[in-house]
């Protein structure tokens, strides 16, 4: 039995708002097996993004622990966390978050460049570019490599963001309302893309959404309510 891709223990997170504290997460524990596609649903403001950020090491919990592929991340140095985030985690955001100055190809190459020093880059360049082109091709963006994000539609942008998230072949793909900003038809296309990566490549995916219908396509649906995660 392989280690679970993600395992969290009693995650607590609160925000201080003036005098009051807002308890967003109150002991969230869950595990995601390698190759699993999990959807987390919850009302707006229930703390879904907060949870995803903790899992993706973008933030630290007040209490509790995140274990990624057997590595306890709470004791790691900032540098190791950066590396882990770069190599093992891919993020897809609701608002795409592509860099406007860079072309499609460059946006997708960015994680590979973050991972590679300037000296090593020339050696790996061709191979990395080939991989980026391949992913983009698979997402139907083979013709748009030299375009800027501003020249693309929302669905196309999100597909570029997915390509970027998958560039470094992360163990985990974290998607925060990937369809939240798209119409239903484009949204379901994006869902198809995610499912394809899940079934074809066995990509572990955790997706956050408030759309219960969308969540149906996942292997498992978790509900975030009152700072707690429940199965149904």
């Amino acid at each position: 039995m392989s280690k679970p891709a993600i395992q969290t223990h009693e995650l607590h997170k609160s925000y201080r708002l003036g005098k009051t504290t807002l308890q967003v997460l109150r002991g969230v524990s869950f595990r995601v097996a390698a190759g699993e596609f999990v959807a987390i649903v919850g009302a707006s403001g229930s703390g879904k993004s907060t949870l995803l950020h903790l899992v993706g090491l973008l933030d630290r919990p007040d209490k509790g622990r995140v274990v990624l592929d057997g590595v306890k991340t709470d004791k790691l140095s900032a540098g190791r966390r950066n590396r882990l985030r770069c190599e093992d985690v891919g993020f897809v955001f609701q608002f795409y978050h592509l860099l406007g100055e860079l072309k499609v190809m460059e946006n997708v190459l960015l994680p590979a460049q973050v991972d590679t020093s300037i000296l090593a880059w020339p050696k790996r360049r061709t191979e990395r570019r080939a991989r980026a082109a391949e992913i983009l091709d698979g997402l139907g963006l083979g013709e748009r490599l030299r375009h800027r994000p501003s020249e693309l539609s929302g669905g196309e942008r999100q597909r570029v963001a997915i390509a970027r998230a998958l560039m470094n072949q992360p163990k985990i793909l974290l998607a925060d309302e990937p369809t939240g900003n798209l119409d239903s038809k484009t949204g379901s296309q994006i869902m198809d893309v995610l499912k394809r990566f899940h079934t074809d490549a066995g990509q572990t995916i955790v997706m956050v959404t408030h759309d219960v219908a969308l969540a149906e396509s996942a292997d498992r649906v978790l509900h975030l309510r009152d700072g707690q995660l429940t199965d149904a």
């Binding site: 950020h53 993706g56 973008l58 933030d59 900032a78 540098g79 950066n82 590396r83 882990l84 985030r85 770069c86 190599e87 993020f91 955001f93 608002f95 978050h97 592509l98 860099l99 406007g100 100055e101 860079l102 460059e106 960015l110 994680p111 460049q113 973050v114 991972d115 590679t116 020093s117 300037i118 880059w121 970027r164």
Partner: protein, 548 residues
């Protein structure tokens, strides 16, 4: 790798970056121009001060005069290794008049010098007109050389007249042109007279001798001969004075020359013309006789040290001539001894290797020792030995404090460039907050993100500094042309030579100043980018991503 890529991309796509670079460029430009001009200014003063007084000056308190100067000079040269040459010098004041021009009078500083010795103490010969760069200039250059220059200059004046008239009749010219052409015509006629004086020197001298003999004969016979006297008087205005009554004028003396709009120097009096000096003797005089000594001189050359305030007030005459006019020559005493001849000061030229002001001070101390040894203690204590820098202290230190002021002013302006870079980078970082969050979500470290902005700042500093430096160097190089163009356009001189001593604005470019300013600008830009970069590095990725 992403750092380089993003840095380049931000450079290309951020308009604000150009603004920051332009700000840096402007500051570099101003700083360079200000410092270079001020430095050049100091340099010229230094050169001119040394030109007038040499490196070290030996002078008595007050104007009492220095005796045994030749022996002293010999001793100083012999005993102090660093000293190359020493020569006596007389400085006094007088009034200059032009025979036949009754309205003209000008107070002047009269320098009594020895030629060609003088050329060894200073670079006097470089500014001469007839004897430019001659290794051994004298007070009696050959007539043919003086005539050649006088004729050439007359031709120049003729050409300027033609140009200014541009084919029109005098009567049709505008009033200011008429005045100018009038002055030019006066200059031309004087130059011609000077040339003729030289050409006819021998015949005139012979004729004068004859007439004087006739007058003497007439006097002896008790005859009155007003006609002869009038002829002699008239002829005396045209003869060439015998040695040592030869004078070298400073260039730019009021009424002796002027400059045209196009920058040509026009001499009104030139070689062969005559002037009269009225000298109030510094040396011995009796209480009853306070009248000036008067002497006619023939102009043999003129000299420019490039310091307008010196040149416009100074004439040079042979040391012996001025000594006599100041009653400083040897005088037999009643007891049969002779009171020694006097000079005002001795100028000492120090070897180039000791030209640095600190080295000069050490040499000065040695010279002091020699002087103390040479004179009786009572006399020695009234004699000062000063470096050129001490002698010109008022002038030099006032310029230095001006330079300081200008540098502080422009330093503050340069702070503005740091501030500009800071503000612009703060804006860029704010604009790029989301990108920073994305980069961090991709695993970029805080240092990596900071490096992007620091490199960005450095490149902007570099580009700005290079553009500014090129612009500044070009401007300084052509500053006089620019200034003339401004004058033609605005009608007044920003740099007036009366208030800035110099004809031309100094336009030396010092490589060390350029590299200092360029380096400073790059550092300033990086410093300006530092705080925003640190802010970017510290930014929490989650916060950055929330930023909409």
């Amino acid at each position: 790798m992403y750092k380089l890529l993003l840095c380049l991309r931000y450079l290309r796509r951020q308009r604000l970056a150009y603004l920051a670079a332009a700000g840096v460029a402007l500051c570099v430009f101003m700083m360079l121009v200000a410092v270079s001009v001020m430095n050049g200014f100091l340099h010229k003063v230094e050169k001119a001060a040394k030109g007038l007084h040499g490196d070290i000056i030996i002078e008595p308190n007050g104007l009492r005069g220095l005796k045994f100067y030749d022996k002293l000079a010999e001793r100083v040269v012999a005993e102090v290794d660093a000293v190359q040459h020493a020569s006596p010098f007389i400085l006094s004041y007088g009034i200059l008049r032009v025979p036949g021009q009754d309205h003209y009078r000008q107070t002047v500083q009269i320098a009594g010098i020895r030629l060609p010795d003088r050329a060894k103490v200073s670079n006097f010969e470089q500014g001469l007109f007839v004897q430019r760069d001659w290794p051994e200039p004298t007070f009696s250059p050959p007539h043919k050389d003086m005539q050649k220059r006088a004729a050439e200059h007359r031709e120049l004046v003729t050409a300027i007249i033609e140009r200014e008239k541009a084919g029109r009749n005098f009567a049709d010219l505008p009033a200011d042109k008429q005045t100018l052409v009038d002055r030019l015509e006066t200059a031309r006629s004087f130059l011609l007279k000077g040339w003729a004086n030289l050409e006819n020197a021998d015949t005139n001298a012979k004729l004068l001798a004859e007439l004087e003999a006739q007058l003497a004969a007439a006097d002896a016979e008790g005859r009155d001969s007003p006609y002869l006297e009038a002829r002699i008087q008239e002829l005396e205005m045209r003869t060439v004075e015998p040695w040592p009554n030869h004078v070298i004028l400073g260039l730019g003396m009021e009424g002796m020359g002027f400059r045209t709009d196009q920058g040509e120097t026009v001499r009104v009096l030139g070689p062969g013309n005559k002037v009269t000096l009225y000298v109030f003797p510094l040396g011995r005089h009796t209480l009853t006789d306070m009248s000036p000594n008067i002497q006619r001189f023939t102009i043999v050359d003129d000299c420019s040290t490039d310091v307008y305030s010196f040149d416009s007030q100074t004439v040079y005459v042979p040391f012996d001539a001025l000594q006599r006019l100041n009653n400083m020559g040897p005088v037999p005493r009643a007891d049969g001894t002779v009171a020694p001849a006097l000079c005002s000061m001795v100028h000492v030229k120090v070897d180039e290797a000791f030209a640095d002001w600190r080295a000069v001070r050490a040499v000065r101390d040695e010279v002091r020792r020699v002087v103390a040894d040479f004179y009786e203690p009572a006399q020695a204590k009234n004699i000062n030995v000063l470096t050129w820098r001490e002698k010109q202290d008022k002038l030099v230190s006032s310029i230095e404090s001006q330079r300081m002021l200008v540098m502080i002013m422009f330093g503050i302006l340069s702070l503005v460039s740091v501030l500009l870079v800071f503000v612009i980078f703060y804006m860029v970082v704010a604009q790029k907050t989301r990108d920073i969050g994305v980069l961090k979500s991709l695993g970029a470290s805080g240092n990596g993100v900071a490096a992007i902005f620091l490199a960005f700042g450095a490149v902007i500093g570099l580009v700005g500094a290079i553009v500014g430096a090129i612009g500044g160097c070009l401007f300084i190089h052509n500053i006089n042309a620019v200034h003339d163009a401004l004058y033609n356009w605005l009608g007044f001189r920003v740099w007036s030579r009366e208030s800035f001593f110099f004809d031309r604005i100094p336009n030396e470019i010092d490589v060390s100043v350029v590299s200092l300013v360029v380096g400073g600008a790059i550092v300033a830009a990086v410093v300006g980018a530092l705080a925003p970069a640190i802010r970017a590095a510290r930014m929490e990725p989650v916060e950055a991503l929330r930023y909409e």
